[in-house]
């Protein structure tokens, strides 16, 4: 686990975590229409689980306040696949059913908006502080 040295680590790792989240959302949306022949193999929507990483200490009380985000795990949502009666589908099981991915497109779009906003916020922080740092480097000139 790389250490957190400055605001670039804080914002950069947070942006990385949001990028992972955006990738899982893209996977979910890409698989929104996929169907399979059994309930077990049907696609389940993926979700990232975020976790705070503190520079010092292990919780917010013992830390020095510097904290960034990591994706601790990617989970599959435990949702029942959508059972559809499509006897003409070559993937259908013996009873003529196929199992569609239980992806809620609206929900994924909301997730995507939130992730991209968080990404933008972090980028804004970095841009602002970088400009200030450049001015500080040129102090006294």
């Amino acid at each position: 686990m790389a250490e957190i040295k400055n605001i670039f680590d804080v914002a950069g790792r947070s942006m990385g975590a949001q990028m992972v989240r955006l990738n899982t959302i893209a996977s979910n949306l890409a698989n929104a229409q996929t169907k399979t022949g059994s309930a077990d193999t049907a696609y389940r929507p993926l979700r990232t689980v975020f976790e705070t990483v503190y520079e010092t200490g292990f919780n917010s009380y013992s830390s020095n306040g510097h904290a960034t985000v990591d994706v601790s795990e990617i989970i599959e949502l435990e949702r029942e696949p959508i059972k559809l009666y499509e006897p003409n589908n070559p993937q259908a099981d013996a009873d003529g059913y196929v199992y569609g991915a239980p992806v809620d497109v609206d929900e994924e779009m909301v997730e995507m908006m939130e992730a991209s906003r968080q990404y933008q916020n972090n980028l804004e922080v970095v841009t602002t502080l970088r400009a200030l740092m450049m001015r500080t480097v040129n102090m006294g000139k």
Binding site: V10, Q18, F50, G65, G140
Partner: protein, 126 residues
């Protein structure tokens, strides 16, 4: 040399505190979506007072607890609208604080710059 340092010290302290606060607010913004994260902040005035006055109790060993140490004064934000997941970051609040803090950082930087240029012209005798 000491006189020069004293001349610049106040604005330099202010700049240092502003930078620390920037990192804290940046951490809050980075954790806006993390469940259970508690937003933290420092009070600029208290920090500046502590910088000027110095520690009230001397610590002679690295294991000693410093009651005035910087980490003892990092406060927790009281959220306007507590959220279900235990996260106390409110982006609107954090963004306002951050933008105010960056402007004040720039102000301190300008003051410091003016002092340095003033000193330089005094040294050159212009």
């Amino acid at each position: 040399m000491n006189a020069l340092r004293q001349y610049l010290d106040f604005q330099a302290s202010a700049l240092d505190i502003r930078e620390r606060r920037n990192t804290l607010l940046g951490s809050n913004i980075a954790n806006a979506g993390t469940p259970g994260y508690k937003a933290r902040d420092i009070d600029f005035e208290t920090e500046l007072q502590a910088q000027i006055q110095g520690p009230s109790i001397a610590t002679s060993h690295k294991g000693h607890l410093d009651p005035d140490g910087p980490s003892e004064r990092i406060l927790f934000r009281d959220p306007l609208n507590p959220s279900v997941d235990g996260n106390t970051v409110e982006l609107s609040v954090e963004q306002m604080e951050f933008s105010e803090n960056t402007v004040r950082y720039a102000t301190s930087l300008t003051f410091l710059n003016n002092r340095i240029t003033g000193l330089m012209s005094a040294i050159r005798g212009e």
